[in-house]
Symmetry: C2
Subunit: 134 residues, 2 copies
């Protein structure tokens, strides 16, 4: 029975490692595909650019929001959004600036597909807040 304390020690170590792994939250990545009314594309672009810029500036948990148009389809937009964790995403969609964007752009969006994702690899240069999180 002289090995029991060692076994207990190992079990305690393993259990604390497990807790550590659980509490190290991974970034939350969301993808969106939007089709914008071509006539309102300029106004939409202004509204979304302002919303992205504000979110990055004032929300610590909004790591990146990228918005691009498919080439030769300027009103077909793709969004790739990286949040520090689920709480950061919830704070984002509850924010005044996001709610303002929703109201402003409601009549400009023809269709919208939203995708939740499971990150496989988030390769980013050192210095980026995303580096080393996946």
């Amino acid at each position: 029975m002289k090995f029991l304390p060692l076994a207990l020690m190992i079990m305690t170590m393993l259990s604390s490692l497990e807790i550590k792994a659980e509490s190290a939250t991974k970034p939350l990545v969301r993808i969106a595909e939007l089709e914008i009314d071509p006539v309102q594309l300029e106004a939409y672009t202004r509204a979304v650019t302002e919303e992205i810029s504000t979110s990055i500036r004032v929300e610590p948990g909004v790591l990146a929001i990228y918005s691009v148009a498919i080439k030769n389809q300027p009103n077909h937009l793709r969004f790739f959004e990286i949040y520090a964790d689920e709480a950061a995403y919830q704070a984002h969609i509850a924010s005044t600036h996001f709610q303002k964007y929703v109201v402003t752009t409601k009549q400009m969006i023809v269709s919208r597909k939203l995708f939740e994702t499971v990150p496989l690899a988030l390769g980013a240069k050192p210095g980026s807040p995303i580096a080393g999180r996946d």
Copy 2:
């Protein structure tokens, strides 16, 4: 005619500003949608993770390569890739590590859609090499 030198000076200034704006290249963003053979998903994940990690480490012009799976569809992957410019992208696809990835994964990929894009807003935190490029 005493204003001519001033006018010339202003024109010279404007023309040099124009050159500066032209030479400040914008990042190149590419999107890919891949369906992977479910049986080979683990091997594919290993290969692509290694390829992304090497690209970020050795290629200065590869700013970010993100790979995620659609939730509940683990073999439906989306890629969002940011290169410093067109030359950085061309160097990437010609690199030994990318060519190795292509050969290794050729039989693992069921379907592939590639999209060229026009960036609208690339919102990233200060410190990220993407910040301020759009």
